[in-house]
Amino acid sequence: MTGAALLLRRRLPSAAWVLPPILAALFLMGLGLGASFLPPDRVFAALTGTGVRSDGIIVWNLRMPRVLMAMLAGGALGLAGFLLQRATRNPLAAPATLGIVDGAALGVLTFLWAFSDEANALTVPILWQPAAAAAGALIFAAAVAWLARRDLGGPLRLILYGIALGALADALVTLMMVAGPVYRAGQALIWLAGSVHTASWFEVTLLSSVVAVALVGAVPLMRPLDNLRCDDATAAAQGVNVMLTRGAAIGLAVLLTAAAVSVAGGIGFVGLVAPHLARRIAPSGTGAQALTTLGCGAGIVAAADILARLAFAPLEIPTGAVTAMIGVPVLLLLLLRGRG
Protein backbone atom coordinates (compact mmCIF):
# COMPACT_ATOMS: atom_id res chain seq x y z
CA MET A 1 0.00 0.00 0.00
CA THR A 2 1.61 3.21 -1.09
CA GLY A 3 1.16 6.56 0.59
CA ALA A 4 -0.86 7.94 -2.30
CA ALA A 5 -3.34 5.06 -2.25
CA LEU A 6 -3.55 5.48 1.50
CA LEU A 7 -4.50 9.12 1.06
CA LEU A 8 -7.16 8.17 -1.46
CA ARG A 9 -8.64 5.69 0.94
CA ARG A 10 -8.68 8.17 3.77
CA ARG A 11 -10.58 10.54 1.50
CA LEU A 12 -11.29 14.14 2.26
CA PRO A 13 -12.38 13.92 5.87
CA SER A 14 -14.46 17.06 5.92
CA ALA A 15 -16.34 17.05 2.63
CA ALA A 16 -19.56 16.86 4.63
CA TRP A 17 -19.34 20.57 5.40
CA VAL A 18 -20.70 21.33 1.95
CA LEU A 19 -24.05 19.80 2.91
CA PRO A 20 -25.58 22.61 5.03
CA PRO A 21 -25.02 25.32 2.40
CA ILE A 22 -26.32 23.00 -0.33
CA LEU A 23 -29.42 22.23 1.71
CA ALA A 24 -29.96 25.92 2.42
CA ALA A 25 -29.63 26.71 -1.28
CA LEU A 26 -32.04 23.92 -2.20
CA PHE A 27 -34.47 25.20 0.41
CA LEU A 28 -34.46 28.70 -1.08
CA MET A 29 -34.64 27.35 -4.63
CA GLY A 30 -37.55 25.16 -3.63
CA LEU A 31 -39.36 28.24 -2.34
CA GLY A 32 -38.57 30.34 -5.39
CA LEU A 33 -38.92 27.98 -8.35
CA GLY A 34 -42.11 26.61 -9.80
CA ALA A 35 -45.09 27.60 -11.88
CA SER A 36 -44.55 31.22 -10.86
CA PHE A 37 -40.93 32.20 -10.39
CA LEU A 38 -40.04 34.23 -7.31
CA PRO A 39 -36.58 35.86 -7.33
CA PRO A 40 -34.57 35.53 -4.09
CA ASP A 41 -35.40 39.04 -2.86
CA ARG A 42 -39.14 38.33 -3.04
CA VAL A 43 -38.62 34.97 -1.31
CA PHE A 44 -36.77 36.72 1.52
CA ALA A 45 -39.41 39.40 1.72
CA ALA A 46 -42.14 36.76 1.92
CA LEU A 47 -40.20 34.87 4.57
CA THR A 48 -39.83 37.94 6.74
CA GLY A 49 -43.44 38.95 6.11
CA THR A 50 -42.54 42.19 4.38
CA GLY A 51 -43.44 41.16 0.84
CA VAL A 52 -46.60 41.04 -1.25
CA ARG A 53 -49.42 39.04 0.30
CA SER A 54 -49.75 36.57 -2.61
CA ASP A 55 -46.01 35.84 -2.43
CA GLY A 56 -46.45 35.07 1.24
CA ILE A 57 -49.23 32.59 0.48
CA ILE A 58 -47.16 30.87 -2.23
CA VAL A 59 -44.09 30.65 -0.02
CA TRP A 60 -45.66 29.79 3.32
CA ASN A 61 -48.72 27.76 2.34
CA LEU A 62 -47.78 26.08 -0.92
CA ARG A 63 -44.05 25.70 -1.30
CA MET A 64 -42.68 25.61 2.23
CA PRO A 65 -44.58 22.47 3.32
CA ARG A 66 -43.63 20.86 0.04
CA VAL A 67 -39.92 21.63 0.39
CA LEU A 68 -39.89 20.60 4.04
CA MET A 69 -41.72 17.40 3.28
CA ALA A 70 -39.31 16.54 0.47
CA MET A 71 -36.38 17.09 2.83
CA LEU A 72 -37.97 15.21 5.71
CA ALA A 73 -39.04 12.27 3.55
CA GLY A 74 -35.62 12.11 1.93
CA GLY A 75 -33.87 12.33 5.28
CA ALA A 76 -36.13 9.69 6.79
CA LEU A 77 -35.61 7.26 3.91
CA GLY A 78 -31.87 7.92 3.87
CA LEU A 79 -31.57 7.30 7.59
CA ALA A 80 -33.72 4.18 7.27
CA GLY A 81 -31.40 2.88 4.57
CA PHE A 82 -28.37 3.66 6.71
CA LEU A 83 -29.79 1.80 9.70
CA LEU A 84 -30.73 -1.18 7.54
CA GLN A 85 -27.31 -1.33 5.89
CA ARG A 86 -25.57 -1.22 9.22
CA ALA A 87 -27.93 -3.66 10.94
CA THR A 88 -27.69 -6.25 8.19
CA ARG A 89 -24.09 -5.45 7.25
CA ASN A 90 -25.35 -5.40 3.70
CA PRO A 91 -24.53 -2.60 1.25
CA LEU A 92 -27.62 -3.44 -0.80
CA ALA A 93 -30.08 -3.14 2.07
CA ALA A 94 -32.59 -0.32 1.78
CA PRO A 95 -36.27 0.23 2.50
CA ALA A 96 -37.06 -0.55 -1.13
CA THR A 97 -34.81 -3.59 -1.62
CA LEU A 98 -36.06 -5.20 1.60
CA GLY A 99 -39.70 -4.92 0.52
CA ILE A 100 -40.54 -2.40 3.25
CA VAL A 101 -41.66 0.34 0.86
CA ASP A 102 -43.93 -2.06 -1.04
CA GLY A 103 -45.24 -3.36 2.27
CA ALA A 104 -46.12 0.16 3.38
CA ALA A 105 -47.80 0.83 0.03
CA LEU A 106 -49.80 -2.37 0.40
CA GLY A 107 -50.81 -1.26 3.89
CA VAL A 108 -52.09 2.05 2.54
CA LEU A 109 -53.93 0.43 -0.37
CA THR A 110 -55.50 -2.14 1.91
CA PHE A 111 -56.60 0.70 4.16
CA LEU A 112 -58.13 2.66 1.27
CA TRP A 113 -59.74 -0.48 -0.08
CA ALA A 114 -61.18 -1.67 3.20
CA PHE A 115 -62.53 1.69 4.29
CA SER A 116 -63.96 3.04 1.03
CA ASP A 117 -67.71 3.09 0.64
CA GLU A 118 -69.80 2.87 -2.52
CA ALA A 119 -69.49 6.58 -3.15
CA ASN A 120 -65.68 6.32 -3.10
CA ALA A 121 -65.48 8.19 0.17
CA LEU A 122 -63.47 7.14 3.18
CA THR A 123 -65.47 5.85 6.13
CA VAL A 124 -62.72 6.50 8.70
CA PRO A 125 -60.45 9.51 9.24
CA ILE A 126 -57.48 9.73 6.84
CA LEU A 127 -55.36 10.06 10.00
CA TRP A 128 -55.25 6.28 10.17
CA GLN A 129 -53.43 6.02 6.86
CA PRO A 130 -49.91 6.36 8.35
CA ALA A 131 -50.78 3.65 10.88
CA ALA A 132 -51.86 1.36 8.03
CA ALA A 133 -48.58 2.10 6.22
CA ALA A 134 -46.62 1.30 9.37
CA ALA A 135 -48.51 -1.98 9.82
CA GLY A 136 -47.82 -3.03 6.23
CA ALA A 137 -44.16 -2.02 6.47
CA LEU A 138 -43.74 -3.85 9.76
CA ILE A 139 -45.36 -7.04 8.49
CA PHE A 140 -43.17 -7.16 5.40
CA ALA A 141 -39.97 -6.26 7.26
CA ALA A 142 -40.74 -8.93 9.83
CA ALA A 143 -41.47 -11.48 7.10
CA VAL A 144 -38.16 -10.74 5.35
CA ALA A 145 -36.25 -10.88 8.63
CA TRP A 146 -37.97 -14.13 9.57
CA LEU A 147 -37.28 -15.75 6.20
CA ALA A 148 -33.64 -14.69 6.31
CA ARG A 149 -33.20 -15.33 10.02
CA ARG A 150 -30.57 -17.99 9.54
CA ASP A 151 -28.36 -16.01 7.25
CA LEU A 152 -29.09 -12.40 7.93
CA GLY A 153 -25.46 -11.73 7.12
CA GLY A 154 -25.67 -13.45 3.73
CA PRO A 155 -25.96 -10.37 1.56
CA LEU A 156 -27.60 -11.80 -1.51
CA ARG A 157 -30.26 -13.99 -0.01
CA LEU A 158 -31.59 -11.28 2.27
CA ILE A 159 -32.04 -8.95 -0.69
CA LEU A 160 -33.61 -11.73 -2.73
CA TYR A 161 -36.16 -12.27 0.01
CA GLY A 162 -36.78 -8.54 0.08
CA ILE A 163 -37.20 -8.28 -3.68
CA ALA A 164 -39.43 -11.37 -3.76
CA LEU A 165 -41.73 -10.14 -1.01
CA GLY A 166 -41.69 -6.66 -2.50
CA ALA A 167 -42.85 -8.13 -5.80
CA LEU A 168 -45.60 -9.96 -3.94
CA ALA A 169 -46.79 -6.75 -2.27
CA ASP A 170 -46.55 -4.96 -5.59
CA ALA A 171 -48.70 -7.62 -7.26
CA LEU A 172 -51.31 -7.33 -4.52
CA VAL A 173 -51.30 -3.53 -4.89
CA THR A 174 -51.90 -3.93 -8.62
CA LEU A 175 -54.75 -6.33 -8.00
CA MET A 176 -56.34 -3.95 -5.50
CA MET A 177 -56.07 -1.05 -7.90
CA VAL A 178 -57.88 -3.09 -10.53
CA ALA A 179 -60.41 -4.53 -8.12
CA GLY A 180 -61.47 -1.17 -6.68
CA PRO A 181 -63.48 0.68 -5.62
CA VAL A 182 -60.57 2.53 -4.17
CA TYR A 183 -61.08 5.91 -2.65
CA ARG A 184 -59.76 8.33 -5.22
CA ALA A 185 -57.99 5.60 -7.21
CA GLY A 186 -56.34 8.08 -9.53
CA GLN A 187 -54.73 9.84 -6.61
CA ALA A 188 -53.58 6.49 -5.28
CA LEU A 189 -51.74 5.95 -8.55
CA ILE A 190 -49.98 9.31 -8.32
CA TRP A 191 -49.20 8.72 -4.66
CA LEU A 192 -47.72 5.31 -5.46
CA ALA A 193 -45.32 6.92 -7.88
CA GLY A 194 -44.04 9.15 -5.10
CA SER A 195 -45.07 12.73 -4.83
CA VAL A 196 -44.69 15.63 -2.43
CA HIS A 197 -46.67 18.30 -4.28
CA THR A 198 -49.76 17.86 -2.12
CA ALA A 199 -47.83 18.39 1.11
CA SER A 200 -49.67 20.02 3.98
CA TRP A 201 -48.38 21.47 7.22
CA PHE A 202 -50.14 18.64 9.04
CA GLU A 203 -48.13 16.05 7.13
CA VAL A 204 -44.95 18.01 7.72
CA THR A 205 -45.63 18.04 11.47
CA LEU A 206 -46.38 14.32 11.47
CA LEU A 207 -43.27 13.41 9.54
CA SER A 208 -40.98 15.72 11.49
CA SER A 209 -42.15 14.29 14.81
CA VAL A 210 -41.49 10.75 13.60
CA VAL A 211 -38.04 11.74 12.34
CA ALA A 212 -37.30 13.44 15.67
CA VAL A 213 -38.37 10.37 17.64
CA ALA A 214 -36.33 8.11 15.39
CA LEU A 215 -33.26 10.33 15.74
CA VAL A 216 -33.47 10.19 19.51
CA GLY A 217 -33.96 6.45 19.34
CA ALA A 218 -30.99 6.07 17.00
CA VAL A 219 -28.48 7.81 19.27
CA PRO A 220 -27.87 4.88 21.65
CA LEU A 221 -27.62 2.56 18.65
CA MET A 222 -24.67 4.33 17.07
CA ARG A 223 -21.95 2.65 19.10
CA PRO A 224 -23.20 -0.95 18.93
CA LEU A 225 -23.82 -0.44 15.20
CA ASP A 226 -20.20 0.65 14.89
CA ASN A 227 -19.06 -2.65 16.43
CA LEU A 228 -21.55 -4.59 14.34
CA ARG A 229 -19.39 -3.76 11.33
CA CYS A 230 -17.43 -6.84 12.42
CA ASP A 231 -19.15 -10.21 12.16
CA ASP A 232 -21.84 -11.15 14.69
CA ALA A 233 -19.64 -13.43 16.78
CA THR A 234 -16.87 -10.84 17.11
CA ALA A 235 -19.34 -8.07 17.95
CA ALA A 236 -20.99 -10.30 20.55
CA ALA A 237 -17.57 -11.07 22.06
CA GLN A 238 -16.99 -7.33 22.34
CA GLY A 239 -20.13 -7.10 24.44
CA VAL A 240 -22.70 -6.03 21.86
CA ASN A 241 -26.22 -7.38 22.23
CA VAL A 242 -26.42 -8.27 18.56
CA MET A 243 -30.07 -9.25 18.23
CA LEU A 244 -31.33 -6.32 20.27
CA THR A 245 -29.23 -3.83 18.29
CA ARG A 246 -30.29 -5.31 14.99
CA GLY A 247 -33.96 -5.48 15.95
CA ALA A 248 -34.01 -1.90 17.21
CA ALA A 249 -32.26 -0.57 14.10
CA ILE A 250 -34.63 -2.41 11.77
CA GLY A 251 -37.60 -1.27 13.85
CA LEU A 252 -36.54 2.37 13.58
CA ALA A 253 -35.98 1.97 9.85
CA VAL A 254 -39.49 0.54 9.47
CA LEU A 255 -40.95 3.45 11.42
CA LEU A 256 -39.09 6.02 9.30
CA THR A 257 -40.00 4.30 6.05
CA ALA A 258 -43.67 3.97 6.94
CA ALA A 259 -43.90 7.63 7.91
CA ALA A 260 -42.16 8.80 4.75
CA VAL A 261 -44.08 6.49 2.42
CA SER A 262 -47.48 7.22 3.94
CA VAL A 263 -47.15 10.93 3.27
CA ALA A 264 -44.89 11.02 0.23
CA GLY A 265 -45.52 7.69 -1.51
CA GLY A 266 -42.99 5.38 -3.14
CA ILE A 267 -39.95 7.59 -3.42
CA GLY A 268 -37.29 5.09 -4.38
CA PHE A 269 -33.52 4.83 -4.33
CA VAL A 270 -32.93 7.50 -1.71
CA GLY A 271 -32.61 4.89 1.01
CA LEU A 272 -30.08 2.96 -1.04
CA VAL A 273 -28.02 5.82 -2.45
CA ALA A 274 -27.88 8.31 0.44
CA PRO A 275 -25.85 6.04 2.77
CA HIS A 276 -23.35 5.25 0.02
CA LEU A 277 -22.99 8.91 -0.81
CA ALA A 278 -22.54 9.74 2.87
CA ARG A 279 -19.86 7.09 3.21
CA ARG A 280 -17.88 8.85 0.52
CA ILE A 281 -18.02 12.30 2.05
CA ALA A 282 -18.51 11.84 5.80
CA PRO A 283 -15.91 11.38 8.50
CA SER A 284 -15.75 7.76 9.54
CA GLY A 285 -17.74 7.83 12.79
CA THR A 286 -21.08 6.07 12.75
CA GLY A 287 -22.96 9.04 14.21
CA ALA A 288 -21.40 11.46 11.75
CA GLN A 289 -22.33 9.17 8.89
CA ALA A 290 -25.90 8.87 10.11
CA LEU A 291 -26.24 12.66 10.16
CA THR A 292 -24.57 13.02 6.77
CA THR A 293 -26.93 10.38 5.37
CA LEU A 294 -29.87 12.37 6.71
CA GLY A 295 -28.57 15.45 4.91
CA CYS A 296 -27.82 13.60 1.67
CA GLY A 297 -31.30 12.06 1.60
CA ALA A 298 -32.91 15.43 2.25
CA GLY A 299 -30.84 17.06 -0.49
CA ILE A 300 -31.56 14.36 -3.07
CA VAL A 301 -35.33 14.52 -2.66
CA ALA A 302 -35.42 18.32 -2.43
CA ALA A 303 -33.42 18.53 -5.67
CA ALA A 304 -35.62 15.87 -7.26
CA ASP A 305 -38.72 17.82 -6.32
CA ILE A 306 -37.37 20.99 -7.94
CA LEU A 307 -36.53 19.03 -11.10
CA ALA A 308 -39.96 17.40 -11.04
CA ARG A 309 -41.52 20.87 -11.21
CA LEU A 310 -39.26 22.28 -13.89
CA ALA A 311 -38.13 19.46 -16.19
CA PHE A 312 -41.38 19.13 -18.15
CA ALA A 313 -43.17 22.30 -17.01
CA PRO A 314 -46.07 22.89 -16.95
CA LEU A 315 -46.37 19.12 -16.56
CA GLU A 316 -45.33 17.89 -13.11
CA ILE A 317 -43.77 14.44 -13.03
CA PRO A 318 -43.67 12.17 -9.99
CA THR A 319 -40.86 12.97 -7.54
CA GLY A 320 -40.16 9.24 -7.27
CA ALA A 321 -39.39 9.10 -10.99
CA VAL A 322 -36.84 11.88 -10.60
CA THR A 323 -35.17 10.35 -7.53
CA ALA A 324 -34.74 7.16 -9.52
CA MET A 325 -33.24 9.14 -12.41
CA ILE A 326 -30.83 10.88 -10.03
CA GLY A 327 -30.24 7.94 -7.72
CA VAL A 328 -29.59 5.19 -10.22
CA PRO A 329 -26.69 6.82 -12.07
CA VAL A 330 -25.17 7.89 -8.75
CA LEU A 331 -25.50 4.36 -7.44
CA LEU A 332 -23.99 2.80 -10.56
CA LEU A 333 -21.15 5.29 -10.49
CA LEU A 334 -20.43 4.58 -6.84
CA LEU A 335 -20.45 0.86 -7.51
CA LEU A 336 -18.16 1.25 -10.48
CA ARG A 337 -15.66 3.33 -8.52
CA GLY A 338 -15.94 1.76 -5.11
CA ARG A 339 -16.58 -1.82 -6.16
CA GLY A 340 -18.57 -1.77 -2.95
Binding site: M1, C230, D231, A233, T234, A237, Q238, G239
Partner: protein, 261 residues
Protein backbone atom coordinates in the same frame (compact mmCIF):
# COMPACT_ATOMS: atom_id res chain seq x y z
CA UNK B 1 -12.78 -15.71 39.22
CA UNK B 2 -12.40 -18.89 37.26
CA UNK B 3 -14.05 -19.50 33.93
CA UNK B 4 -15.10 -23.11 33.57
CA UNK B 5 -17.45 -25.64 32.02
CA UNK B 6 -19.29 -27.96 34.40
CA UNK B 7 -20.46 -31.18 32.73
CA UNK B 8 -21.50 -29.14 29.71
CA UNK B 9 -23.64 -30.75 27.03
CA UNK B 10 -24.86 -29.02 23.94
CA UNK B 11 -24.68 -28.79 20.19
CA UNK B 12 -26.24 -27.34 17.07
CA UNK B 13 -29.87 -27.87 16.12
CA UNK B 14 -30.38 -30.99 18.20
CA UNK B 15 -27.08 -32.56 17.11
CA UNK B 16 -25.05 -33.03 20.30
CA UNK B 17 -21.40 -31.97 20.04
CA UNK B 18 -20.36 -31.64 23.67
CA UNK B 19 -21.19 -34.71 25.69
CA UNK B 20 -20.35 -33.68 29.22
CA UNK B 21 -17.24 -31.50 29.36
CA UNK B 22 -15.42 -30.30 32.46
CA UNK B 23 -12.86 -27.63 31.82
CA UNK B 24 -11.40 -24.84 33.95
CA UNK B 25 -9.04 -22.00 33.03
CA UNK B 26 -6.52 -20.83 35.62
CA UNK B 27 -5.11 -17.32 35.77
CA UNK B 28 -1.75 -16.92 34.11
CA UNK B 29 -1.83 -20.20 32.21
CA UNK B 30 -2.25 -21.08 28.55
CA UNK B 31 -4.57 -24.02 27.99
CA UNK B 32 -4.51 -25.58 24.54
CA UNK B 33 -7.64 -27.38 23.32
CA UNK B 34 -6.57 -30.10 20.89
CA UNK B 35 -8.21 -33.01 19.15
CA UNK B 36 -9.25 -34.31 15.76
CA UNK B 37 -11.62 -32.43 13.43
CA UNK B 38 -15.16 -32.24 14.77
CA UNK B 39 -14.24 -33.27 18.30
CA UNK B 40 -15.87 -30.17 19.81
CA UNK B 41 -12.84 -27.94 20.52
CA UNK B 42 -14.33 -24.79 19.00
CA UNK B 43 -17.75 -25.65 20.37
CA UNK B 44 -16.29 -25.91 23.88
CA UNK B 45 -14.73 -22.47 23.42
CA UNK B 46 -18.09 -21.02 22.34
CA UNK B 47 -19.74 -22.71 25.32
CA UNK B 48 -17.24 -21.01 27.66
CA UNK B 49 -18.25 -17.65 26.19
CA UNK B 50 -21.94 -18.44 26.66
CA UNK B 51 -22.47 -18.39 22.91
CA UNK B 52 -23.77 -21.97 22.77
CA UNK B 53 -27.08 -22.99 24.33
CA UNK B 54 -26.34 -25.91 26.66
CA UNK B 55 -28.77 -28.78 27.14
CA UNK B 56 -27.19 -29.78 30.45
CA UNK B 57 -24.41 -28.51 32.68
CA UNK B 58 -23.28 -24.90 32.68
CA UNK B 59 -20.56 -22.44 31.81
CA UNK B 60 -19.60 -20.66 35.02
CA UNK B 61 -17.65 -17.51 35.80
CA UNK B 62 -16.88 -17.78 39.48
CA UNK B 63 -20.20 -18.67 41.03
CA UNK B 64 -22.38 -17.19 38.27
CA UNK B 65 -23.60 -18.76 35.05
CA UNK B 66 -22.15 -16.82 32.11
CA UNK B 67 -25.58 -16.80 30.45
CA UNK B 68 -26.89 -14.77 33.38
CA UNK B 69 -24.25 -12.06 33.01
CA UNK B 70 -25.09 -9.04 30.84
CA UNK B 71 -23.46 -8.75 27.43
CA UNK B 72 -21.15 -5.87 28.36
CA UNK B 73 -20.26 -7.19 31.81
CA UNK B 74 -19.35 -10.54 30.28
CA UNK B 75 -17.27 -8.85 27.58
CA UNK B 76 -15.24 -7.11 30.30
CA UNK B 77 -14.48 -10.53 31.80
CA UNK B 78 -14.07 -12.76 28.75
CA UNK B 79 -12.61 -11.78 25.39
CA UNK B 80 -12.93 -14.15 22.45
CA UNK B 81 -11.62 -14.27 18.91
CA UNK B 82 -13.43 -16.55 16.48
CA UNK B 83 -11.85 -18.66 13.80
CA UNK B 84 -12.77 -16.44 10.86
CA UNK B 85 -13.63 -12.99 12.16
CA UNK B 86 -14.73 -10.58 9.44
CA UNK B 87 -13.32 -7.05 9.66
CA UNK B 88 -15.36 -4.00 8.66
CA UNK B 89 -14.77 -3.05 5.05
CA UNK B 90 -13.05 0.27 5.39
CA UNK B 91 -11.23 0.60 8.66
CA UNK B 92 -7.68 1.18 9.86
CA UNK B 93 -6.05 -1.06 12.46
CA UNK B 94 -6.30 1.47 15.27
CA UNK B 95 -10.06 1.86 14.76
CA UNK B 96 -10.46 -1.91 14.66
CA UNK B 97 -8.63 -2.20 17.97
CA UNK B 98 -10.79 0.59 19.38
CA UNK B 99 -13.87 -1.56 18.75
CA UNK B 100 -12.55 -3.82 21.52
CA UNK B 101 -13.24 -1.02 24.02
CA UNK B 102 -16.99 -1.23 23.46
CA UNK B 103 -17.83 -2.80 26.81
CA UNK B 104 -15.74 -0.24 28.74
CA UNK B 105 -17.05 2.97 27.23
CA UNK B 106 -19.48 5.32 28.91
CA UNK B 107 -22.68 6.25 27.12
CA UNK B 108 -22.47 9.30 24.81
CA UNK B 109 -18.82 9.94 25.70
CA UNK B 110 -16.01 9.86 23.17
CA UNK B 111 -13.08 7.49 23.74
CA UNK B 112 -11.72 8.27 27.21
CA UNK B 113 -8.06 8.61 28.14
CA UNK B 114 -8.21 5.11 29.63
CA UNK B 115 -9.50 3.79 26.30
CA UNK B 116 -6.70 5.45 24.36
CA UNK B 117 -4.20 4.03 26.82
CA UNK B 118 -5.62 0.53 26.48
CA UNK B 119 -5.59 0.80 22.68
CA UNK B 120 -2.00 2.05 22.56
CA UNK B 121 -0.94 -0.62 25.02
CA UNK B 122 -2.62 -3.35 22.97
CA UNK B 123 -1.00 -2.06 19.78
CA UNK B 124 2.45 -2.03 21.37
CA UNK B 125 1.92 -5.33 23.10
CA UNK B 126 1.02 -7.16 19.92
CA UNK B 127 3.58 -5.49 17.71
CA UNK B 128 0.81 -3.84 15.71
CA UNK B 129 1.99 -0.30 16.52
CA UNK B 130 3.78 0.16 13.22
CA UNK B 131 0.67 -0.80 11.24
CA UNK B 132 -1.80 1.14 13.39
CA UNK B 133 -2.77 3.55 10.62
CA UNK B 134 -2.95 1.03 7.79
CA UNK B 135 -6.28 -0.04 6.30
CA UNK B 136 -7.16 -3.54 7.40
CA UNK B 137 -7.85 -4.56 3.80
CA UNK B 138 -4.15 -4.11 2.92
CA UNK B 139 -2.69 -6.26 5.68
CA UNK B 140 -0.97 -9.61 5.25
CA UNK B 141 -2.38 -12.64 7.03
CA UNK B 142 0.06 -12.35 9.93
CA UNK B 143 -0.54 -8.61 10.35
CA UNK B 144 -4.29 -9.08 10.26
CA UNK B 145 -4.16 -11.79 12.92
CA UNK B 146 -2.02 -9.51 15.08
CA UNK B 147 -4.57 -6.74 14.70
CA UNK B 148 -7.40 -9.02 15.76
CA UNK B 149 -5.45 -10.16 18.81
CA UNK B 150 -4.70 -6.52 19.59
CA UNK B 151 -8.45 -5.89 19.52
CA UNK B 152 -9.10 -8.65 22.04
CA UNK B 153 -6.20 -7.46 24.19
CA UNK B 154 -7.66 -3.94 24.22
CA UNK B 155 -10.81 -5.48 25.66
CA UNK B 156 -8.80 -5.84 28.91
CA UNK B 157 -10.54 -9.01 29.97
CA UNK B 158 -8.85 -11.44 32.40
CA UNK B 159 -9.99 -14.38 30.26
CA UNK B 160 -8.97 -14.76 26.64
CA UNK B 161 -10.42 -17.39 24.28
CA UNK B 162 -8.77 -17.85 20.87
CA UNK B 163 -10.02 -20.20 18.17
CA UNK B 164 -7.15 -21.40 15.96
CA UNK B 165 -5.25 -18.11 15.98
CA UNK B 166 -2.40 -19.64 13.96
CA UNK B 167 -4.66 -20.80 11.15
CA UNK B 168 -3.33 -19.74 7.72
CA UNK B 169 -0.09 -18.47 9.26
CA UNK B 170 3.30 -19.73 8.21
CA UNK B 171 5.68 -21.36 10.69
CA UNK B 172 7.43 -18.12 11.61
CA UNK B 173 4.29 -16.06 12.10
CA UNK B 174 2.63 -18.88 14.02
CA UNK B 175 5.54 -18.90 16.47
CA UNK B 176 5.35 -15.14 16.91
CA UNK B 177 1.63 -15.31 17.65
CA UNK B 178 2.09 -18.16 20.13
CA UNK B 179 4.91 -16.31 21.92
CA UNK B 180 2.60 -13.31 22.18
CA UNK B 181 -0.21 -15.44 23.62
CA UNK B 182 2.17 -16.93 26.16
CA UNK B 183 3.33 -13.49 27.28
CA UNK B 184 -0.29 -12.32 27.60
CA UNK B 185 -0.79 -15.13 30.12
CA UNK B 186 2.55 -14.88 31.93
CA UNK B 187 2.99 -11.15 32.19
CA UNK B 188 -0.63 -10.02 32.55
CA UNK B 189 -1.93 -13.00 34.48
CA UNK B 190 -4.68 -13.68 31.96
CA UNK B 191 -6.30 -17.07 31.66
CA UNK B 192 -5.94 -18.08 28.01
CA UNK B 193 -7.64 -20.93 26.20
CA UNK B 194 -6.54 -21.53 22.65
CA UNK B 195 -7.78 -24.06 20.12
CA UNK B 196 -4.82 -25.50 18.21
CA UNK B 197 -4.41 -28.11 15.51
CA UNK B 198 -0.65 -28.22 15.62
CA UNK B 199 0.26 -30.45 18.57
CA UNK B 200 3.88 -29.33 18.53
CA UNK B 201 2.87 -25.68 18.85
CA UNK B 202 0.58 -26.68 21.70
CA UNK B 203 3.31 -28.74 23.38
CA UNK B 204 5.82 -25.88 23.14
CA UNK B 205 3.59 -23.01 24.23
CA UNK B 206 0.78 -24.34 26.41
CA UNK B 207 1.00 -25.01 30.10
CA UNK B 208 -1.78 -27.49 29.84
CA UNK B 209 -3.27 -29.49 26.99
CA UNK B 210 -6.88 -30.61 26.96
CA UNK B 211 -7.15 -33.43 24.46
CA UNK B 212 -10.70 -33.95 23.21
CA UNK B 213 -12.42 -36.61 21.14
CA UNK B 214 -16.10 -37.21 20.38
CA UNK B 215 -17.27 -34.33 22.53
CA UNK B 216 -15.47 -35.56 25.64
CA UNK B 217 -12.21 -34.73 27.36
CA UNK B 218 -9.80 -37.63 26.90
CA UNK B 219 -6.93 -36.15 28.87
CA UNK B 220 -6.14 -32.89 30.65
CA UNK B 221 -2.70 -32.08 31.96
CA UNK B 222 0.85 -31.06 31.17
CA UNK B 223 1.87 -31.67 27.54
CA UNK B 224 4.29 -34.45 28.50
CA UNK B 225 1.54 -36.38 30.33
CA UNK B 226 -1.21 -35.89 27.78
CA UNK B 227 0.68 -36.54 24.56
CA UNK B 228 1.58 -40.20 24.89
CA UNK B 229 2.03 -42.43 21.86
CA UNK B 230 -0.81 -44.69 22.95
CA UNK B 231 -3.28 -41.87 23.49
CA UNK B 232 -2.45 -40.19 20.18
CA UNK B 233 -2.93 -43.47 18.35
CA UNK B 234 -6.32 -43.82 20.01
CA UNK B 235 -7.55 -40.27 19.51
CA UNK B 236 -6.14 -39.54 16.03
CA UNK B 237 -6.05 -43.06 14.59
CA UNK B 238 -2.46 -42.25 13.78
CA UNK B 239 0.81 -43.89 14.80
CA UNK B 240 3.11 -41.25 16.25
CA UNK B 241 6.55 -41.18 17.74
CA UNK B 242 6.86 -38.87 20.75
CA UNK B 243 10.49 -37.65 20.84
CA UNK B 244 12.27 -35.06 22.94
CA UNK B 245 12.19 -31.52 21.62
CA UNK B 246 15.72 -30.08 21.53
CA UNK B 247 14.47 -27.19 23.68
CA UNK B 248 12.52 -29.40 26.07
CA UNK B 249 9.05 -30.88 26.04
CA UNK B 250 7.63 -33.51 23.72
CA UNK B 251 7.98 -33.50 19.94
CA UNK B 252 5.32 -35.34 17.98
CA UNK B 253 6.23 -36.99 14.70
CA UNK B 254 3.36 -38.70 12.87
CA UNK B 255 4.53 -41.98 11.34
CA UNK B 256 1.49 -43.31 9.55
CA UNK B 257 -2.27 -43.47 9.52
CA UNK B 258 -4.21 -46.40 10.88
CA UNK B 259 -7.07 -45.40 8.67
CA UNK B 260 -7.42 -46.63 5.15
CA UNK B 261 -8.90 -44.21 2.69
Amino acid sequence: MTLRLDAAQGGYGGRPVLEGIDLALGAGEVVALCGPNGCGKSTALRALRGALPLTAGAAMLGDRKVTEIGAKALAREVAMLGQTPVPPEEIVVRDLVALGRYAHRRAFAPLAAADHEAIDRALHRTGAWSIADRPVADLSGGQLQRSWIAMTVAQDAPHLLLDEPTNHLDMGHALVVMDLIRRLAREDGRAVAVVLHDLNLAARHADRIVLMANGQVQADGAPREVLSEQRLALVYDTVCAVLDHPKGGPLIVPLGSQRTL
